[in-house]
């Protein structure tokens, strides 16, 4: 089982174009959490925590840039972070569950980065170094969110965050499963509507 997991992991980086795509996806995730944290800093009423969120946001924004550069190196072509929204977690969850959610994400991120550093240690030492510098920050993020979580102290926050975290991942997986079905249905619908295309006129020119 372990061997299979290792094989799948290796494959996840090895397929052509996979490395830069994955790095770019990481960069996107970092940029997204920077936005969540900036919003949290604006929304919390506690000045000390606002400052922590801003520092954390600056870290994540920097990570996004590092990973973007690395993706560009792997792709051997310039790239851009797509501009996407974020989930507005603080506004939706409240501060305690937001912290719990961020803490879970940091912990998962830290574990994944540990695996990535191990994987690239020999294969691409420069990339491993870049990832290691990020990893140091992630450890700090994991620790301070745990501290704040205890301080804010809402025992059910972690459970709520865990449900949300799972929910979001399931939905993503569900999306991946239903996507081909949706695409197929819509493709058929499009084909069936094709005769209507003949009726479509170009907008009239000139003043109405």
């Amino acid at each position: 089982m372990r061997a299979l997991a290792d094989f799948v992991y290796t494959l996840s980086w090895r397929l052509p174009g996979r490395t830069w795509r994955r790095l770019l996806a990481f960069a996107e995730a970092e940029a997204e959490s920077a936005l969540e944290l900036r919003c949290a800093a604006a929304l919390t009423t506690d000045a000390a925590r606002a400052a922590r969120y801003l520092e954390h946001a600056a870290d994540e924004a920097r990570h996004a840039q590092i990973l973007l550069r690395r993706a560009e190196l792997a792709k051997q072509a310039p790239s851009m972070l797509p501009r996407r929204g974020h989930a507005h977690l603080f506004a939706r969850l409240g501060e305690a569950a937001f912290l719990a959610f961020v803490h879970l994400g940091e912990r998962r991120g830290r574990r994944q980065f540990e695996a990535h550093v191990r994987f690239f240690e020999k294969r691409d030492p420069a990339l491993a170094n870049a990832l290691r510098s990020i990893l140091a920050d992630e450890r700090r993020h994991e620790a301070y969110t745990a501290e704040l979580l205890t301080a804010v102290g809402e025992p059910r926050a972690t459970r709520r965050a865990r449900w949300l975290d799972r929910g979001m991942r399931w939905r993503r997986a569900g999306g991946a499963l239903t996507e081909p079905l949706f695409a197929l249905t819509m493709g058929l619908l499009y084909l069936l509507s094709a005769p209507l295309a003949a009726l479509v006129r170009r907008g009239p020119a000139g003043w109405r």
Binding site: L35, R38, C39, A41, A42, T45, A47, A48, A50, A51, R52, L54, E55, A57, A58, A61, A77, P78, S79, M80, R83, R84, G85, H86, H88, A91, F182, A183, M186, G187, L189, Y190, S193, A194, L196, A197, V200, R202, G203, P204, A205, G206, W207, R208
Partner: protein, 562 residues
């Protein structure tokens, strides 16, 4: 007597605006609060902010008005996908997913978020929203409104006269004949982000020669009656905005610019693209001027008001005032789709029997800052924060020394321009400071112009044609005539000047600069980094200060340094 909330959302630049008993109480763009540039999502935070600023709760609202007809819009999009058969398959799928996902249910979502019965949620037409935003905030009456954008439901351009129930349409042009889409195609061709890079095209245009004008005239025909037609093969089918240009354009102008390559206007390759920008700008200006003349012929009105995204083209606006048939010209400062939220609210107010009060309009309609809380956060970030007795005099002294000053005062601005509420300032007479600001602090292209701010009393001495109805909100450009503006003058000798009235956000600062240091202007740009939304709250300002490192930040009377 009614409380009406207007909303724009779901395409670009979502916003909310609140009108109570005909008075404009609050208006806020979502991007400033979500920190996502041009955030199109349902403006939940902006709605909450407007309600809080008005001291209301959702259920207190008599009407919630969406800025366009979501059903007509869906129809146009799906019909467009079919018209592009078979290439439109992917677009069709994505459009249906978006529409079925949330766009189609926007009215229900608004009712749910505001906590009002669905029957109190209504919509108005897209271009009517634009027209109302201009007519009902203009500093004069007797005007005709001209609205020009990419596309609303089906219209791209319309002419309106004011009526008791709101703007009444005189005539219109329909998609795909659209100046917004023409300029979007050029924006994409030059490698900029559509709906955002249009401003860069205008700045770049001043560096080029319009030697492709004839080539572009074969793609866009300007008719004698002010109407225009776009040749289909020169433009994309608008299914993909990043490829809004068509094959015929590529054949005529060469390959589109690689967005990733840094700009070098000394190099032949980039001078070519500057020439393309200059040609497109030239055509756009002629087209807008033709529309203005058409509006005059059809209405006989003495004055003109403008709205819609194309009305943000301040060079075109300057030509309309200088060469057009109107005595006065005004542009709603949030001329893009955000402004539709305010127009929708004003239209809703009229429908409920209120008469909008244009005197209640000011661009400072957004969220407030809390200097006390900001000071506390700054202290936790290890920054130095002091309350100063006279922030204007204090900042003026720093500016005179050549500092770059971040300036946060009062309620946030409405519209894309910083107008003194959330601004980044430095001396206007020093080109090297401008370059520091461009590259180090803002991180943007070298050809982007900056603007000077001056007190209205000095405008006539420093600029040709200033002040006018557009200079307070920076929706036009004027030729620089006076001294001391080297850093704020664009390569073509013009500047997008802001004239500041007594009592304006920058007035005390300009007064102190003149009194204590003999300076009559300040170089003025928006408080944000390239690609980021304008700062709104105290924490956003601190975030900017920590990352981009201007010399000093003022939040009301709080001075922050390192």
């Amino acid at each position: 007597m009614a409380a009406v909330l207007g909303i724009s959302a779901h395409y670009h630049d979502a916003a909310a605006a609140l009108v109570v008993d005909g008075r404009i109480v609050a208006a806020q763009q979502e991007e400033r609060l979500s920190r996502v540039k041009n955030d199109p999502s349902l403006p939940r935070q902006a709605i909450d902010a407007c309600l809080a600023l008005g001291g209301l709760r959702g259920p207190d609202l008599d009407r919630v008005v969406f800025y366009e007809n979501p059903y007509r819009k869906l129809e146009r999009i799906l019909v467009g996908a079919l018209g592009a058969f078979p290439r439109g398959a992917r677009f069709f799928r994505r459009a249906l997913r978006d529409q079925l996902g949330d766009k189609l249910w926007v009215l229900d979502e608004l009712a749910a978020h505001c906590g009002v019965p669905r029957a109190r949620v209504d919509f108005v037409a897209h271009h009517a929203s634009h027209a109302a935003s201009a007519l009902d905030t203009a500093p004069f009456g007797e005007a005709v409104a001209l609205t020009i954008d990419g596309v609303g439901e089906a219209e791209s351009t319309a002419i309106w006269r004011p009526g008791p129930g709101g703007p009444e349409a005189l005539t219109a042009l329909e998609h795909p004949h659209s100046l917004g889409l023409f300029y979007a195609a050029i924006t994409a061709f030059l490698g900029f982000r559509v709906n955002e890079g249009e401003y860069k095209v205008m700045g770049l245009a001043a560096f080029g020669e319009p030697r492709f004008r004839e080539a572009l005239d074969r793609m866009v025909t300007l008719h004698d009656d002010g109407a225009f037609t776009l040749r289909p093969d020169a433009f994309g089918d608008h299914l993909r905005l990043d490829r809004a240009y068509g094959d015929a354009m590529v054949r005529a102008l060469g390959p589109p610019r690689d967005p990733h390559r840094p700009w070098d206007l000394e190099a032949t390759a980039d001078r070519h693209y500057a020439d393309v920008a200059a040609s497109a700008q030239d055509l756009l200006e002629d087209a807008v001027l033709g529309l203005a003349r058409a509006a005059h012929r059809r209405s006989g009105a003495r004055h003109l008001v403008l709205a819609g995204g194309v009305a943000l083209n301040c060079r075109a606006n300057a030509r309309v005032l200088a060469e057009g048939p109107f005595g006065r010209v005004y542009v709603h400062p949030a001329a893009g789709d955000a402004g539709g939220a305010l127009g929708a609210a004003l239209l809703g107010a009229r429908q409920l029997g209120d008469t909008p009060d244009p005197g209640s309009f000011t661009p400072a309609l957004g969220v407030r800052v809390d200097p006390g809380h900001t000071a506390a956060v700054a202290a936790h970030l290890g920054l130095r924060g002091e309350r100063v007795a006279d922030p204007a005099a204090d900042a003026a002294a720093r500016l005179a020394e050549g500092a770059i000053v971040a300036w946060v005062q009062g309620r946030a601005e409405w519209g894309p321009r910083a107008l003194g509420q959330r601004s980044l300032l430095t001396r206007a007479d020093d080109e090297s400071l401008r370059d520091v600001l461009n590259r180090r602090i803002k991180g943007r292209e070298p050809f982007r112009p900056f603007a000077p701010a001056v007190r209205t009393a000095h405008a006539a001495a420093l600029f040709e044609g200033a002040p006018n109805d557009m200079t307070p909100t920076m929706t036009t450009v004027c030729r620089v005539a006076g001294e001391g503006l080297a850093g704020a003058t664009h390569v073509d000798g013009t500047a997008r000047v802001q004239t500041v009235e007594p009592g304006g956000a920058l007035d005390p600062l300009l007064e102190a600069l003149e009194r204590d240091h003999g300076l009559r202007a300040v170089l003025h740009t928006s408080l944000n980094a390239a690609g980021e939304p304008l700062v709104a709250r105290g924490t956003d300002a601190l975030d900017f200060f920590v990352r981009r490192k201007p010399d000093v930040l003022y939040v009301e009377d709080l001075r922050i340094t390192r």
